[in-house]
Symmetry: C2
Subunit: 338 residues, 2 copies
DNA sequence: GCCCCAATCGTAATCGCTTCCACAGGGGGC
DNA sequence: GCCCCCTGTGGAAGCGATTACGATTGGGGC
């Protein structure tokens, strides 16, 4: 466990620590011979500079914090989350950054978590589960901490964020449901205070309006199977069997689908259901789920990229990136020519 | 962004940094009055000690590293993973530790990732996706880095690990399948080099042996939907319709179930399928999935606890913890009195 | 009044690394 | 031959905390 320090390497090489440091960081101003000699010694002893000491002196940790609000517990139950983290981690690691995960508990706000656990330990923060007028962006801006949002907050004008084109995705999906000729069209939405929900609702409404229709109903709830199940039950009380349903997540679509089946309705015959996300197993649903694909992995990568951009050049323009969504038609919607 | 340091707090309070530090860390040897005065100033200015500086001087980072091998990409597609991380994070945060996530890429081994990215940045490592004779436990032991395994490596005698009782879970499930009177019983297992797979297979075989039966077939593969689907297709080539199938994950069970349906077999009538994990939406499967429940969240917590134990007292006995599994009967297995 | 000890607090070293600044030596321009 | 500059190197001051060690004070026991 007793590892060498730069001092010992310097002694072994008969030079000063300054020179060793220069070699480690690939700086100029080192004679090619000494450089090689030092490199050999470093390699022979398997020396690695101590990350902490390096960070302290550089005032740079190469750590990115991911704060998951306790209200976003559902994130964990969602494949969305894992894929997002994977994307963020992949890009971060590629750029020699690490990801620090931190969940806020009931008792502690994000800002307390930051000051208690994360201050000095991260270069910036990745903010998930953004809601409209999110208090977190306020204190982050005020505190001058670099950050990037996954999702948008229209009330926060010039901040870095990455989002997918929810409006368009919902629009396409709704339009498709209309084309299938369903009498009534419902939306099982996410939590109302999230911009992601609001923009999907906008797309939903736009498609209906263009067709001269109005929404048969909109319900809000978390992005979970349970919520989808409950919402569908609610809807089924006041709907016929010929309806189209757009869910704001594949999980909700899954839950809704189960609710229909329980009542003996065959999904993809009379009623149609469309999900959102295209989680890896959506194609294995019964029936395979028609859904709006989001490039989740890529969103994670982009978010990390945006944050690292902010970290490395704080005065640069914020990155505001909206990635495309795409309707994937499978069998949970009825056949167009049926 | 310009935050106060302990020096400035000391000046404001008219004391030395030593005293401020003593107050911050709740040490003795500080007059009650001065303590209060300093505390007030700290609060007024919202001072938080710089985590890095603190760590450097304490030689303690309060960071736990989680290394996810690139070969375990499937982990991310599994709800198991998110739940595990959630458990680890919850316990870690409660003990004022942070979780650092690091995925190894194709080009870099765990040990390279550690030395390049994590050395000096973490107090210990949480090791996922353990295989039998895992090289990682070797270099970790050699390097003297505290660590804890999620899952077991029977070849590594005295290390901390947390696992669930896979043998017993598989035994119970298999026994249940036998009781249902199925002619043939299959196992869709995980990767063969994992102890988790081997021990489940042991439970599977034990149950069969006790009943005087022998396995109809065992196939190995990753814990994914795709693998379950493929394995079931393989099995269906050489099986009748009256068989029981135990899968090593809910995802595999899900995939297998889809394969059966594609051939018009009704799962839970003739053939029975049992999963493993009891992921949150297993009950919403069609049909609701009979499965072996693992306490995943708790495993995460325990693993963090074991690691922190090793970190804080390296000479303490390793924690070796096996958590119970439980068969949850739903409708993907046929009714006992049918 | 002297000595000793407990309580309280400060000085300075330390953690391991980066980097500013100074300095030595050699070569080229004049 | 003198001066300047450029290259290569080392000394030492940071980064922001913790803490070993020492110093000061005041009070109690004699």
């Amino acid at each position: 466990m007793q590892r060498l320090t730069i001092v010992e390497i310097a002694e072994l090489a008969g030079v000063s620590t300054a020179t060793v440091s220069r070699v480690l960081n690939g700086k100029r101003d080192v004679n090619e011979q000494t450089r090689r000699r030092i490199q050999q010694i470093i390699e022979r002893y398997g020396f690695t500079p101590h990350a902490l000491a390096r960070s302290l002196s550089l005032k740079k940790t190469n750590n990115l914090g991911v704060i998951i609000p306790h209200t976003a517990d559902y994130l964990f139950s969602s494949p969305y989350f894992a894929e997002l983290i994977r994307g963020m981690g992949e890009y971060a690691n590629r750029r020699s950054y690490r990801l620090i995960l931190s969940t806020t508990s009931e008792e502690r706000s994000s800002s307390e978590v930051y000051h208690g656990l994360l201050y000095g330990a991260v270069d910036g923060l990745l903010v998930l589960d953004v809601r409209v007028g999110d208090e977190r962006v306020l204190w982050l801006k005020e505190a001058g901490i670099p950050f990037a949002l996954v999702g948008q907050d229209p009330k926060a004008p010039s901040v870095s964020f990455v989002d997918s084109d929810n409006e368009s995705g919902a629009y396409q999906a709704t339009k498709y449901l209309i084309e299938l000729g369903h009498e009534e069209i419902f939306l099982v939405n996410g939590p109302q205070e999230h911009w992601v929900s609001q923009s999907r609702e906008q797309g939903f409404r736009r498609a209906l309006k263009e067709a001269g229709l109005s929404p048969a109903g909109i319900v809000y709830g978390p992005f979970t199977v349970e919520a989808g199940f409950a919402s569908a039950q609610e809807i089924l009380k006041r709907a016929g069997s010929d309806f189209g349903l757009l869910a704001a997540s594949d999980l909700q679509a899954f839950g809704a689908s189960c609710a229909l089946k329980q009542l003996g309705l065959e999904v993809g015959r009379e009623a149609s259901i469309i999900g959102f996300d295209d989680v890896p197993w959506a194609q294995y649903f019964d029936p395979p789920l028609t859904t709006v694909r989001q490039p989740i992995f890529q969103i994670g990568q982009e978010a990390a990229r945006a944050l690292i951009g902010q970290v490395e050049s704080p005065d640069s323009e914020p990155i505001r990136s909206v990635l495309p969504t795409q309707l994937i038609v499978r069998q949970s919607t009825r056949s167009p020519d049926g």
